[in-house]
Symmetry: C2
Subunit: 432 residues, 2 copies
């Protein structure tokens, strides 16, 4: 690229909004990404970096020195700065903090002291609190003294002298109520404050259920520490959804579509290795029946069908149950209902497709015995698949293993082993 | 249940918040759901029903008559009423509308005239507009005349005499700016108004990228029709994520964890039928090599391993690409980079696990030929799997088929056919 082209690219790039620049960076392979990042104006860098997915952000930050990092984060909100720092190694975080102004450092440090995936980690300490005995008129005048209010200040947090949480005062009520009324008379008290240790997924669920835009965060003594706003929660929802999708394919949250081969290949390799092990287990089941296959080679042709149908039917159940568990729908009270439903669906679908497959196999190999065997094996495998799909996520969760991550492989092992055993076992019995 | 127990359940149930009642209904099997619904107080019904997932809602509404439905929706916002009605048959919608008050009917009808999955369908017509030449003081007095402002009115929409959109006036700025300034001086003009026909997924993407809490909706002439608020967008995000997850398992959005057997079984059956067809195709490939398997029965034992590894590797690529496409990361400019990366990962993982598998197979069957054959077949299949995983979603999308829904089955067909052909084909060559 000559310098003329480069400077016109630079102009174009910096004419975009920070979110658009972030999207462009995320849509670029790693090397092109570095070149583009060099072209972003210094005063846009902070805005752009806070919009980036974690992995992409980590790639770009790894080349910057700590004073540049500190300068870049100067204009950002403390919670976003903490977010950005959390992707860096500890030593670098300390350097960046040292290079920040005292006030900013303290704010950011207070957030970094909470676990990243809790209410404390999500929260913004920048919150406007008021006392319950003030009149709305005084509150209005107090607000007017601010040149700019913290972003999304749609509620003021009402606290007593000891900073203990009392309620929320909606800005809209401040506007529409009689200015002589007190905060206490107008505030909402049937609201929930979130403990700083609450997992971020719980926080997201509450925001979704109650259509909140803001919620206060408190400590053990009910003292107000900060607030969480809907924009941060939307990111949690998005990441949670992403996590399920990626886990189901054994991908462990690789949020960067364009991660390098060196990063991606080893992570995927692990999952393939686990699958290889389970596939060998399934094959060793087939190995037990070598003699039967040697006699009736058509069995080798048909056996993958039995396993494949079990795998698909099981993963349908698995997905429904994993999603139901994530939504908190499934508990002891309704598990037996669910198992009975899945059993019935397995039986129904088993019978339908077994009948069809018996017809196909009978016609294909001109052998009614093999037709009966494949039909029986399919019914057996689809019922096992349904029960395994329903029970495996619950068992895995009890073992503290993420069902979305391990469920698929565990299920395929069951459906392969049951499918091959049933089909080849029955065949051995009838052809022996 | 005796009547004493029933009335204490009723008291407990109605002591819960509407969202909690909705969650309980969603977590109950269909019959228990109907019993619980009977116990919900009339004046809670509307609040509860608007919190329910579509399918659960449809089940409960199907037993209510139209005057009850009209009464139930009286207290709800027009956009939520429209949402609820959209799950009913057209004839019932007309009856409910006829039973509503004129004002409510007109509002709801105006929303129903837009497609459900567009900005128009999401929007709430209840929007406060102001003229640019007013002073903030006048705006404040105007707001104060409302007893209650429409929910989430964090921005006022600035329009001219012809209702043409001019900008947004943040409530927080009304509070903190000099009351003598005009709306025009304070309003944000670098904001986007959404055309009513914009797909809801696009709307959600914009809200996420820009951290919006509210956006105005306009018609072809830029006239303001209403507004979309973040709570409705969060539902779209959640449903979109759900859709991907469920589709990948061939489940076509069955949002009810406890849907009946009669509803669930036929829907799942279709997908199993399609899978049966593709499994038969894969088996007919094996059938071509009956002679070879008859000679070397170990091939029947090992062939599922080749197919299984291809399936897992391919679905890893498939998921990354489907997610990247949904996020708008993947286009012509970076497709060749992506294909090359996936090829390299396929080669890398193919070589590693092929080497290991060659060792296992060689030791297992004490046969170096079969070790070499399975290794070669695995490398070939993992490379094909990677390319198919990357290209299939793009091809399917070009054919207007949802890649999340059809991608998995299409991919498995490729990896099974390639896996069996490569493994048994090589074996035929070497053992012939």
């Amino acid at each position: 690229l000559d310098s003329g082209a480069l400077s016109s690219i630079r102009r174009m790039l910096n004419g975009l909004q920070p979110t658009a620049i972030a999207h462009l960076l995320e849509s670029s392979p790693p090397q092109r990404r570095v070149v583009l990042w060099e072209l972003v104006d210094k005063d846009q860098e902070g805005e752009v970096i806070q919009e980036l997915a974690d992995n992409v952000r980590a790639q770009l930050l790894s080349d910057m020195d700590s004073s540049d990092l500190a300068a870049m984060t100067e204009e950002l909100e403390a919670d976003n700065v903490a977010d950005i720092l959390q992707t860096l190694p500890d030593a670098v975080i300390q350097e960046v903090l040292a290079a920040m102004s005292t006030q900013n450092r303290e704010r950011v440090e207070s957030i970094l002291s909470y676990e990243e995936d809790t209410a404390g980690g999500l929260m913004d300490p920048d919150v406007i609190t008021v006392r319950p005995d003030l009149t709305l008129d005084v509150v209005l005048r107090y607000l007017r003294r601010h040149e700019e209010l913290p972003h999304s200040t749609y509620y003021l947090v009402v606290v007593n002298r000891k900073d203990i949480f009392l309620g929320l005062l909606p800005i809209l009520k401040v506007l529409t109520s009689d200015p002589n009324m007190t905060v206490r008379e107008v505030m909402d008290t049937d609201v929930t404050a979130l403990h700083f240790s609450m997992p971020d997924k719980e926080v997201a669920k509450l925001f979704e259920q109650h259509d909140w835009v803001m919620a206060p965060v408190i400590d053990d003594e009910q003292r107000v520490l900060g607030r969480i706003t809907i924009d941060d929660v939307v990111d949690v929802i998005r990441e949670g959804a992403d996590h399920s999708l990626m886990s189901m394919a054994g991908l462990e949250e690789d949020a960067d579509t364009f991660a390098s081969v060196a990063k991606t290949a080893p992570r995927r390799a692990i999952w393939l290795g686990i699958n290889l092990l389970t596939a060998i287990i399934a094959s060793s089941v087939i190995n037990l029946f070598q003699g039967t296959i040697d006699k009736v080679v058509a069995l080798a042709v048909l056996m993958p069908i039995v396993a494949s149908m079990g795998g698909v039917a099981g993963s349908q159940t698995l997905t429904v149950v994993i999603r139901g568990m994530a939504l908190g729908h499934i508990g002891r009270a309704n598990l037996s209902w669910l198992l009975s439903r899945e059993f019935q669906i397995g039986l129904f679908n088993g019978l339908i497709w077994a009948a069809l497959m018996a017809g196909v196999a009978g016609w294909w190999f001109n052998d009614t015995t093999i037709a009966g065997i494949i039909a029986a094996a399919m019914v057996i495998n689809l019922i096992f698949a349904a029960l395994a799909g329903a029970l495996l996520p619950i068992i895995l969760k009890a073992m503290r293993i993420d069902p979305a991550l391990a469920g698929g492989v565990a299920l395929t092992t069951v459906t392969d082993v049951v499918g091959f055993s049933a089909f080849l076992g029955l065949a051995t019995y009838f052809y022996a």
